[in-house]
Amino acid sequence: MTEMIALTRLTKHFGPLKAVDGIDLSVAKGEVLGFLGPNGAGKSTTMKMVTGFLTPTDGEALVDGINVVQDPVAAKRRIGYLPEGAPCYGDMTPSSFLGFIAEVRGLSGAERRRAIDQAVERVEIGGVLQQPIETLSKGFKRRVGLAQAILHNPPVLILDEPTDGLDPNQKHQVRNLIHQMAEDKAVVISTHILEEVEAVCTRAVIIARGKLLADGTPEELVRRSPLHNAVHLDVAPNIVDAVIRDIEALAGVGSVQRDSSFSVKATLIVTSKGGAPIAPALAALLQDKGHEVSDFKTEKGALDAVFREITRGPNSNAVSGDAGHA
């Protein structure tokens, strides 16, 4: 695998504030890396350093082997970047805006037309090409920003919150787009939407207070959840005690909790010891004993919980508030 982005002890201080504090990270071709973290964790700052917008206080960033500080123009040629909020020149139309970007990217003639057509088609903005960007809806603006980033088919794609402000259909579409393009690129997306990480990323890192706290595939991260492989079941209230007794006797079961919510049914949450799958054994047991179960579902464990767990370090009340609804 070719290493497209390599960060070594990358650090950025704003006065006394350590926005990014010695991050080591590498991203290979074919990877879609999800950059997770509460607001203010240093995600955007890190991206701004990789794209050459901010100069690191310390450490270095290599893009396709090129040092971003020493040869910024060459590094920037290899990067497609969607800045946070997808800023575009509001008084231009998408057509003239993409034309400008294509020119700066060194595309001309038929090549330029083809690149623009392809990007327009990919993000589906064909209908608004001649409207000033400032009159477009948020979703369209974001897609114009995306078109700009993918226009020159860059080997490295860095997208800062690419689906922020999009409706569910548009989100789905953007995720598909990232999937399609991921094969021959190194893609980094920042987000605080955790389902997005599970939907598109092959790898996720969690960053908080400028430090890298976790690195793994989304599945690996989910596995850290106490609810990983837990089972939810609904049973009639009159048999609930017998069911709990039987389940607790089963090997591999960590705990059985009764959901306290009022209902005609009792809901039980059965966690597994060490996160191993217990659903098959549990199903067999229930059938054996002849307990009637009205609902039975396996829990994968929410990335949310893992995220909160990891990012909630000392004196982080301010950041965990944001993580709560993310």
């Binding site: 701004k48 794209t51 050459g52 917008f53 901010l54 910024p72 123009v73 060459a74 920037k76 040629r77 990067i79 970047y81 800045p83 909020g85 800023p87 575009c88 020149y89 509001g90 008084d91 231009m92 003239s96 400008f100 970007i101 020119e103 700066v104 990217r105 060194g106 000033p132 700009q148």
Partner: protein, 244 residues
């Protein structure tokens, strides 16, 4: 160079995307005409030249050029597009020069559109067209100097109004530095060298020399080096402020 041209082209078109270009050109033409005819006494002077027209250019530029330059960087920073621009494969120097050239070309266009003045004076008499050409060039170069100041100051703030006011003030100081008003403040305590240096910084002195039809190398170097210096400061200002 290619990047400079691409950026200049986009920036130049941006002036025409809003009513700014139209408003500016109309006001510039109205004011240059009004000053030349009513204040400068174009007809009553009874001489076939454009002295009364060019004499008011420094004062008009003082207010109008910062209005062209104020948006160059302040707007990019306010809207966040500076992050887009500075992550394209373009050096900061290219971007600064490209934007400056676009705005300067716009000033040039406004100046060219004053051609009815030139037609009028040629219909009424036989002026020295060499002097007029030199004056136009001098006026254009002076506009460039005002513009480089405005562009640099625009990079220091996100607020266009602040950029305008500060730029107009700095331009005023440069215009007036030869006048007693400013020199009196320094005479008496500052060394003679400094007072002389200040006097030599005056736009008015250098522009007057050019409008008399004498294109002296020293005046060209003065305005040229001033432009280079302010654009250099502009690059530094952009580099220092872009992330804020």
């Amino acid at each position: 160079m290619r990047n400079v041209a691409i950026i200049a082209k986009r920036e130049f078109k941006a002036y025409f995307a809003t009513p700014l270009a139209l408003v500016f050109i109309v006001i510039f033409l109205a004011l240059t005409g009004a000053f030349a005819f009513y204040v400068g006494g174009f007809f009553t002077r009874g001489s076939a030249d454009l002295t009364s027209f060019f004499a008011y250019h420094p004062w008009l530029f003082l207010l109008l050029v910062p209005a062209i330059g104020m948006r160059l960087w302040a707007e990019e920073r306010k809207s966040g597009t500076i992050e887009l621009l500075m992550t394209l494969p373009v050096s900061t120097v290219d971007a600064v020069i490209g934007k400056f050239l676009a705005a300067w070309a716009f000033c040039g266009l406004a100046l060219v559109l004053t051609f009815p003045m030139w037609v009028t004076v040629n219909v009424l008499g036989t002026p020295d067209n060499g002097v007029i050409l030199a004056s136009y060039l001098g006026s254009f170069v002076m506009a460039g100097a005002f513009l480089s100041i405005s562009s640099c100051i625009s990079a220091l703030t996100k607020n266009q109004v602040i950029a305008f006011i500060i730029a107009a003030t700095v331009c005023f100081l440069f215009t007036m530095s030869g006048a007693q008003l400013v020199l009196n403040f320094f005479q008496g305590w500052a060394p003679e060298v400094l007072v002389d240096a200040l006097r030599s910084m005056s736009f008015l002195t250098h522009f007057d020399a050019v409008t008399r039809g004498v294109i002296d190398l020293k005046d060209v170097v003065f305005f040229g080096s001033l432009i280079v210096m302010w654009l250099f400061l502009n690059v530094i200002a952009v580099e220092l402020n872009k992330g804020r």
